[in-house]
Amino acid sequence: MGGAVGAVVVLLLGAPVLLGLVGVVLPAFGYLPALGGESLTLDPWRQLFAEPGLWTAALLGLSSGLLATLLSLCLVIALLAAGPLWLRRGLQALLAPLVAVPHIALAVGLTFLIMPSGWLVRFVSPWPSGWERPPDLAFPQDDLGLSLILGLVAKETPFLLLMALAALPRLDEEWRLAMARSLGYHPVTAWLKTVLPDLLRALRLPLAAVLSYGVANVEMAVILGPNTPPTLAILILDWFRDPDLAQRFLGSAAALLQLGIVLFALALTWGLALGLGRLARRLAADGRRGQGRLLLPAGLWLALPPLLALTLLALLVLFVWSFAARWRFPDLLPVWSLETWQRQGESVALLTGQSLALALCSTAIALLLAFALLESRRPARQRAAEPWLLPVLALPLLVPQIAFLFGAAVAALQSGIAAPWFFVLWGHLLFVLPYVYLTLAGPHRGLDRRYHQQAISLGKGPWRVFFTVTLPLLRAPLLTAAAVGLAVSFALYLPTVLLGGGRVVTLASEAVALSGGGDRRLLAVTALLQALVPLLAIALAIRLGRKRRFLP
């Protein structure tokens, strides 16, 4: 039975991703019969390389993704190696909600903070800055991609930190530190030499996902990234959406280039990690105890509290904007009004309903599949399925969305089935399932098998055991997985836009559309709701997961 469930997952997830890739590869070489391309040619590539600004765009995506990933990782390492324990403990409770804030809502909130007429400038205006009107700054959306990097770092650092904190208990961190310190190692050196190498190994998949997203994402780059030119991912989306359908050959070639760039970035970091691993071994064996010389770079953790404060401020400013009537510069607070909520209440309620329907359906299906996968592999072949399952599940997180979703969208269109909502649902499932599965897999593996053996020896059938033993034991992780699934779905943009062909509109897609210069108040309402629903779900999951019938 394990094989059957696995086959379903491969068909559901892996096959469409590969089909989507084929749907990009063929047009990239001129083959797309529906548009009259019936022979293989290199014309799309010639056209692509003749595009002005192509390499700038490609470099922008690559550099912002690489820099942001590296910076986030350094922040996490600095906090764990040198940060005070109280900060680490304090953050632990804050991380899950922070991770649930969608990219789009965060990007919109950050824009409201850092733009020339944003909150940060208002805080210092007119005194002491002397600005009576917004300063003339090309920020955010600066040409170097700095605001995009800021957004990515703010978004990904809590995620990486959460992943690291989840991995650390398996690494005997405290004992390794005690061992190294009794051998005379400075605490920071001790952590870097004994814990970091294994932690990096445990973080490989999250890091790869963060990197792939950073290099090729669309939604954060649209809102915070540069315009002239934008990053490559945005150029690709523009070409795909061009009314002139011939541009799709160009878009396909560019999507393939984007895939190559992401693979290059992954290979580069992989090589870097290998080299670092070798260096770490040499350093560990050199016996130097490091009496404090590492303190300067380790002090990087001091940047974490301001960064997280920025995220919280970004949410707060969304809230303020949503209740604004007029907000003249340099006033710190607007003239309050309920007008936007009243006037747009009905339409945003519809959007929220659409987002919720997709999130709930995809999460429910993902939970069913995840449990089917986990339960079918017990107990005999527990390890056998893992090697191929993880890569298939991780595929949608590692292959850039823009590279396969368009091909999948074309395939969906050509299938003749007019059910955009179901295609979008499938697109959401693609990203919800890996996170739901990974959230559940650890706790499921950690279950004490003897409870099941006991229940079976008492004469309970497998379904009874599942509902009376497994599920109650997994209550907290189950609730977390559901909230995570909902948060992932709420954050998705490209699957909705591309697979829905414009006929499925969610809070996420509407927020991106409005960010192009619509009503700021309505944008704030939309982005705020996009963030609030996942936040509530996470808070509820934590609250309900903590409640136990009997306290130990």
């Binding site: 324990l85 005997d172 004992w175 390794r176 005690a178 061992m179 190294a180 310190r181 009794s182 051998l183 005379g184 190692y185 400075h186 605490p187 030499k193 004994t194 190498p197 294994d198 190994r201 691993g277 770490a280 071994r281 560990a284 064996a285 050199d286 016996g287 130097r288 105890r289 009496q291």
Partner: protein, 222 residues
């Protein structure tokens, strides 16, 4: 009062949130000798060793004084106390080879910086723990007894002033345990190191130690 030679504890005690864990301990361990601290689990034996190493944090407070070779210990930062701490779990780092694990302990003091010098010191150490040629191995491929010897040697290579053994033999089976005990005793005599052994196993204490201190729970006199 000063400590003189060896390791000396004077009225050393631990308190958890102000409540003392055991009656104050006073003892002297001369170089090359072993003292055992025995007591039921949960009485604070292991915490006592961590406190000596300066690694006890959180709600614990330490009172009393401790000296090693007349140096007051409790004021020193953990990394300068030079006490070799050996746990029940050998804690060999999984990302390093056996030789690299030993090199992690080998101090980088003068005369031990060069590549050749370090490699020679490691080879010699491997021979001493009867594992010549095992340097390139993955520590996971060693047997329990071999791992325990590597962990012990890693501590010794850091040139400690004393060894603190926290149930160090508990994970070994009876035969290996006997072998490890005599191995440790020989090394301590040879190097003239004082050692403090914490154990709940009377046999460990009797085989190695000339003096035993029993930690007892403090009577609550309220």
């Amino acid at each position: 009062m000063t400590g003189g030679e060896g390791l000396r504890l004077e009225a050393l005690s631990l308190a958890l949130r102000g409540e003392p864990l055991f009656a104050p301990v006073t003892l002297t361990v001369p170089p090359g000798r072993v003292a055992a601290i025995v007591g039921p689990s949960g009485c604070g034996k292991s915490s006592l060793l961590l406190a000596l190493c300066g690694l006890l944090s959180g709600p614990f407070t330490v009172s009393g004084e401790a000296w090693i070779e007349s140096i007051p210990l409790l004021q020193l930062p953990p990394e300068r106390r030079k006490l070799g701490l050996i746990f029940q779990d050998p804690l060999l780092l999984p990302h390093l080879s056996v030789a690299e694990n030993l090199a992690f302990g080998l101090s980088a003091a003068a005369g031990r910086r060069g590549k050749g010098e370090r490699a020679a010191a490691i080879e010699e150490a491997l021979a001493q723990i009867r594992l010549p040629g095992y340097g390139k191995r993955d520590p996971a491929t060693l047997s329990g007894g071999q791992r325990a010897r590597v962990a012990l040697m890693r501590s010794l290579l850091a040139e400690p002033r004393a060894l603190l053994l926290d149930e160090a033999f508990a994970s070994l089976d009876a035969g290996l345990r006997q072998e490890m005990r005599s191995f440790v005793a020989a090394i301590l005599r040879e190097r003239g190191l004082p050692a403090l052994l914490v154990t709940h196993d009377q046999a460990d204490a009797e085989a190695l130690a000339e003096q035993q201190v029993e930690l007892a729970f403090v009577q609550q006199n309220t």
